[in-house]
């Protein structure tokens, strides 16, 4: 199996007057947990949407396991958007059935197990849940797939610190050795310990792509400190 899960070449995307992505190129290997880091509005969400085929870039190409975004890539990517994207009127049980119907890699037992751990009932309706609970359910569904690439957009933004720990633990333990996890966030300190690589994105361009160990060795600083230095206002 080819060791490259994602290849983005010279991606550009403009919204009205702002250039969200500008000649952004990156290559991701299998089996890594990668932080996609950058301040608000730096292009993280736009990049994830392009990878998932929800936006079409103005220029450049994206290949996921060799395929442009499409049916094949959607089969192997598990995507957590930064929105409450699930159908409001459904119960957790209905949502699980929905996922199981469409994604052959969905592991129902894994989902039930995580629900139990986080004290969530499958009879709860999505509509009546709090913001944080909705995020937990979404993350459970996304992480219950045995995908090859997970794209998580701000997965821990709205949840309490205790659940945050459990979720990070879930992300770490629940994915197979060959899968890649791409996490976009600005809560760096919380996830720093689980990352293998980091990508710094600034004004839509790649600023840095390196392994966490390399940064610690060469610069002798944590990712959080490096981030604060790079993006100093």
């Amino acid at each position: 199996m080819n060791n490259i899960i994602l290849e983005a070449n010279h991606i550009a995307k403009r919204f009205a007057s702002t250039l969200a992505l500008n000649d952004f190129s990156v290559t991701l290997e299998r089996g890594k947990i990668i932080g996609l880091l950058g301040p608000n509005g730096s292009g993280k969400t736009t990049m994830l949407k392009i990878i998932n085929g929800l936006l079409v870039p103005d220029q450049g190409t994206v290949k996921i396991a060799g395929n442009a975004p499409g049916t094949e890539s959607k089969r192997i990517i598990s995507y957590l958007p930064d929105k409450n994207y699930l159908t409001n009127w459904m119960s957790v049980k209905q949502l699980i059935n929905y996922y199981a119907d469409f994604y052959t890699d969905f592991d129902r037992e894994k989902a039930m197990d995580m629900l139990k751990r986080l004290g969530l009932s499958e009879d709860m309706k999505f509509k009546t849940m709090s913001k944080g609970t909705k995020e937990k359910v979404q993350l459970i569904l996304v992480m219950s797939r045995n995908a090859e690439l997970y794209c998580l957009d701000e997965p821990i933004g709205g949840v309490d610190p205790a659940a945050r720990d459990y979720i990070l633990h879930t992300i770490l333990s629940n994915y197979s050795k060959n899968a890649t996890v791409l996490i976009s966030t600005h809560l760096i300190a919380d996830i720093e310990s689980v990352l293998d690589d980091v990508i710094f994105i600034q004004n839509g361009s790649l600023r840095l792509h390196a392994s966490v160990d390399q940064i610690r060795e060469e610069k002798n600083m944590s990712i959080d400190s490096l981030f604060r230095e790079v993006y100093r206002c």
Partner: protein, 281 residues
């Protein structure tokens, strides 16, 4: 995968339509009874007010059945294809064509069901109002059997007419739904004023399509009028039914062909936009 998409779409649309259907079937006898017993044939302000209100209520309800069925089509497509729900719709490992078809088929089916509910409601209403009695049915049947020998020559024509009419209605409905879809698709290309753009596109398309179909129908109706005049002058009235039927079939087939061409013309850009130009907020 189309099967699974259809299953979930029927569930999602069913939850909107079924309450309207059930509500209609419950309200119809209630309103009919109210009308029947308010109409006591005497001058009484309170009863007359009841009567007027319940008749008005019944007409509004029938209107609501039709309007809601179209509104549900719009809401369902708009929400699942362009809002947050679209994040799930478009990350499912399914083809864009299947996604659109899985919206179109339940939309047409539910609109047809709305019409069936409308007919049932009218039937129930007349039944309860006392306008229909067992006599009505037996009279109708007797009339039918008496008239049948005279219509026998045309029985296959009548059956084909019914089939052609149903087919015309289905194709016209699908074309209307696709007109909604393409308007929403074009609207989502914009970075702002999406809904306004969609409404504008829909109205513009409506006028263009009306204009085109009217232009196409003019020569057909002219021919028909010429034939009718000819019969009138020659006094050969036996041919009148033939001319009328053939005009009906011919204009129906032209209508079906038009709607298929229009439907395809609306579907292709819808498909292209959602496949190649998806622009989720």
């Amino acid at each position: 995968m189309l099967g699974k998409l259809l299953k979930h779409e029927f569930i999602a649309t069913g939850r909107m339509y079924v309450p309207v259907f059930i509500g209609t079937l419950i309200l119809t006898p209630l309103l009919a009874l109210l009308i029947r017993f308010s109409d006591i044939g005497e001058e009484s302000n309170i009863f007359n007010m009841f009567l007027a209100l319940s008749i008005f209520g019944y007409i509004m309800m029938l209107l609501a059945v039709f309007i809601s069925s179209l509104i549900f089509v719009i809401i369902r497509f708009y929400k699942s294809m362009t809002t947050e729900e679209a994040y799930l719709t478009f990350t499912l490992p399914v083809k864009t064509s299947n996604v659109i078809l899985s919206k179109l088929i339940p939309a047409v089916v539910c609109m047809v069901l709305s019409f069936v509910i409308f007919l049932i409601s009218i039937f129930l209403f007349t039944l309860i109002m006392g306008a229909l009695t067992p006599h009505t049915f037996s009279d109708f049947w007797r009339g039918f059997t008496e008239a049948y020998p005279y219509m026998e020559d045309y029985s296959s024509t009548f059956i084909s007419m019914i089939l052609v009419t149903i087919l015309s209605a289905l194709v016209a409905l699908a074309s209307l739904v696709l007109q909604v879809y393409v308007s929403i698709a074009i609207g989502q290309l914009m970075n702002s004023h999406r809904l306004l753009t969609s409404i504008g596109v829909f109205i513009a398309l409506f006028f263009v399509i009306q204009l085109l179909t009217t232009i196409i129908s003019i020569p057909i109706q002219n021919d028909y009028m010429r034939d009718v005049m000819f019969i009138n002058e020659s006094g050969n009235y036996d041919r009148f039914a033939d001319v009328m039927f053939s005009n009906y079939f011919f204009s129906s087939f032209v209508g079906i062909a038009e709607n298929i061409v229009i439907g395809a013309g609306l579907y292709i850009p819808t498909w292209y936009i959602f496949k190649k130009k998806l622009n989720l907020e």
